[in-house]
């Protein structure tokens, strides 16, 4: 479902129209070229055409909003265009005789938050170019007078199949954040060459990242160069082996040290029988010339093995073990310690009947030989590292054949414990979702979620714990083949340490005829803040959008 505010991207006010115009011009030129060619005798006129026509879609929208309360909090998540705007321009050219597929989409042109995507794919040479642009404007905090931040993301990727066995991939991306003291810019260039051989793929890549913070920032600007060589898995469906060696060298402005990271990995996969597969990993990571003056991890050696068995009826069982041996420089940098992190996982998926699915995931991570912490006086105290982390997850779904309903139940317990300090925390999440096809044209949905947090320790009061609950009720009605109506109500609560209540109600009506469509919608959003932090608001938003496809 496309959103009234355009969900798929954001557009540069200059660049994306240019991309769209370029695509349009190219489409017109190719269409003219196609029409100039005389049809072959004996063939129907459209026999050589692709499966679809080149289309241009334009959508115009208008919307109004009223916010009574804290607009910063409202706009943190709601970034609609203001007033009447161009909601969408889309050029979509299907595969043509020249082997070209291309298109461009741009949303919310000239709006503070906007974006889009352009792409070109040439089948014969296997050249693909994708470019995406997104600009977001938001507040960096909720209080009145908070600064605007603008973030722009631009990413372009090129993929070229040089020969059937040689592939070249490259790209450039940049992210810029402007406003307040958090201004920064990052640029990234990357290239990967892959050679397919008979048994394995070999590849080499380089990645250069430059990051710059605004003047006066406490953070280091600099650059990081990463190289990587390796081989990929073979095309054998039963045995796969992959290896990689990579290194990253980081230069920091105003700092004499240049941290260097080295990473080596070897992975294997083997289908032992039709029912049993085994996989394993060996990894090595090292950090040299670190700038850290306190405790830090210097080296890690990791080994892992995992098996999957599907021999039992309607059951998939996975079990794995992983151990990591870490060289850890202590807080005074006087000693290198060797803590070890051991992790075990079990996943079981069962489908006892066609309409029932059950899933259980278990995981336990233990850290042994944990390093001691140092207090402000430089004396060692009990460790801050968790001794154990457990995860239990259960999901079950039921879609009976005798009624048009579906039901899913979920439970997840995430626990961490530091035995030395007598500390434990946990997050318990329970959820339920259901749907009901009331008639062939009406569907109702319900979802519930409850999340509780626990914090256990000597002398610990509990005002620091908030729990959460949310539920949503929705309905979709296909009024006719051309008309659809959707509505939903959602309520989300935080309670305990934070007391908030948010209620949103939305409704939309869409009508289509020929190549046109009209959407009308309304969204009411009410946030009540009981903490005295003035986050609350009461907002109304309505919108109308007309879109049409040009031939």
């Amino acid at each position: 479902m496309r959103t009234p505010f355009a969900s798929r991207g954001r557009a540069h006010p200059v660049l994306l129209p240019l991309v769209a115009l370029a695509g349009l011009a190219l489409g017109v030129a190719l269409a003219a070229q196609e029409s100039a060619e005389a049809p072959v005798a004996g063939k129907p006129p459209d026999a050589d055409k692709g499966p679809g026509e080149s289309r241009i879609t334009i959508a115009l929208g208008t919307q109004r909003q009223t916010v009574d309360g804290n607009p910063q909090r409202y706009w943190q998540y709601v970034t609609p265009p203001s007033g009447t705007h161009i909601a969408l321009i889309e050029v979509d050219h299907p595969l043509n005789e020249a082997g070209l597929v291309f298109g461009a989409q741009a949303y919310d042109l000239l709006e503070p938050s906007a974006g889009g995507v352009g792409y070109l794919y040439e089948v014969d040479e296997g050249v693909r170019v994708d470019t995406r642009y997104r600009r977001s404007q938001f507040y960096d905090d909720f209080y009145a007078g908070a600064d605007h931040l603008t973030r722009t993301d631009w990413r372009t990727d090129v993929r070229w199949r040089v020969t059937p066995r040689d592939h070249l991939m490259g790209g450039y991306s940049t992210v810029r954040v402007r406003g307040a003291e958090e201004g920064w810019r990052r640029e990234n260039w990357r290239a990967t060459y892959t050679r397919e051989t008979g048994a394995l793929d070999a590849y080499a890549s380089v990645n250069v990242e430059q990051f710059n913070f605004i003047d006066g920032s406490p953070w280091f600007s600099g650059d990081a160069t990463t190289w990587s060589v390796g081989f990929g898995p073979s095309r054998d469906a039963r045995t796969l082996i992959a290896g990689n060696v990579s290194g990253t060298n980081t230069n920091l402005e105003g700092h004499v040290r240049s941290p260097r990271e080295t990473f080596v990995s070897l992975s294997g996969f083997r289908q032992v029988t039709d029912d049993l597969t085994l996989s394993g990993d060996l990894k090595y990571w090292e950090l040299e010339d670190s700038i850290a003056r306190t405790a830090y991890a210097k080296r890690e050696r990791l080994a892992a093995i995992e098996g999957e068995y599907i021999g039992l009826p309607k059951t998939v069982i996975r079990a794995g073990l992983e151990t990591a041996d870490v060289d850890y420089v202590n807080g005074r940098q006087s000693q290198v310690l060797q803590p070890a992190v051991n992790t075990g996982t079990v996943n079981i998926r069962v489908r006892p009947r066609k309409d029932v699915k059950l899933q259980v995931d278990l995981s336990r991570r233990r850290v042994d030989a944990r390093p001691l912490a140092y207090d402000v006086g430089g004396y060692p105290v009990t460790t801050l590292i968790y001794s154990q982390a457990d995860l239990l997850r259960f999901r079950g779904s039921w879609t009976p054949t005798f009624a048009p309903i579906g039901l899913t139940l979920g439970y997840q317990a995430d626990q961490r414990e530091n035995a030395d300090r007598g500390l434990r925390n946990e997050i318990i999440t329970r959820d339920l979702s259901a749907w009901w096809s009331v008639t062939d044209d009406v569907t109702a949905t319900l979802s519930l979620l409850n999340q509780s947090y626990g914090l256990v320790g000597a002398g610990r009061p509990t005002p620091f714990v908030s729990d959460a609950r949310s539920w949503s009720l929705g309905a979709a009605w296909r009024v006719s083949d051309r008309t659809n109506f959707e509505t939903s109500f959602t309520r989300a609560d935080s309670f305990g340490g934070i007391e908030l209540k948010q209620q949103t109600w939305s409704a939309s009506l869409e009508h289509k005829w020929d190549e046109h469509s009209v959407r009308l919608g309304l969204a009411l959003d009410d946030l009540d803040d009981y903490n005295g932090t003035l986050l609350g608001y009461d907002a109304d938003l309505w919108y109308a959008e007309f879109s049409t496809r040009l031939p």
Binding site: P4, V78, L95, G99, V101, G103, R349, L455, V465
Partner: protein, 295 residues
Amino acid sequence: MDCSPATRSIVWLAAVAAAALVLPSLLLSAPEAKTTPEYADPDACGLCHKDVADAAAKRLHGAILERRAAEAKGQNCQTCHGPSQAHVENPIEVKTAWTPELLKRNTSAVMCLNCHSNQIPAISWRKGDHHAGGVQCWDCHSADRPAKAHSEFIARPASPVCVECHQEVEGLFRLNSHHPVLRETEQERVACSDCHDVHGRRSERDWAQRCRSCHLEQRGPYRFEHGAISGRLMGSCLECHSPHGSPNANLLKFTGRGLCLQCHGDKVTHFPGPACWTCHTAVHGSNTSPQLLTR
């Protein structure tokens, strides 16, 4: 040489892994060779499946195979559907070679990754959680759509597709603070795939790096690190933040100093009242203060 228990565990696991991977290869290689199926004449498929063949030629995958016939080694339909000589000889009894029945849960890995392995390493896919859950490529991708749908193939909004199966996450995205992913008004500024490796599995060790790809100001390196974030002995950013959604501000797990007390349990009475980061402003790391008091 003295070995720590961890080192011994590594050696043991490595040995088991090597044995598990190599020995079966040696023992089972001969039977595999016997079952290698043969390709049929590339035009044979269209003799019976004319409608399907005509429609496929107008779709992107079909067009690629047709235009690159020489590279496809004359396999045509069989590039995806598998060697089919046996099926041609006995179409009633024998299905094509790569049907799900014959390959059980490895269909995606064989059919799609045969060509797309340089984008998605087969080993990542087969060790990933989606493969374990029986998800196939076409559950998310529209490989069988007309060629015009290529735009949807590469630019399809991903998150609504993900929530079709991962309903529990939808509720989390409604909480007080959350990443702007799902709701209509949020424009999917963050997509599920920005954080999750949907074609493989991302280990906890990679999370910090993933978070910093957007939150550059937390990139570091720092002279004075906050140990919880390194991601080697603890869960990095996820020790303090619930990335899908939280009842607290800034995706925090706990309110006020409760966040810090989950590790620093002895600081209950240390300047009681305000949140710890009122003074320790550089909680992610500092270049000036060992106590993370200033950035």
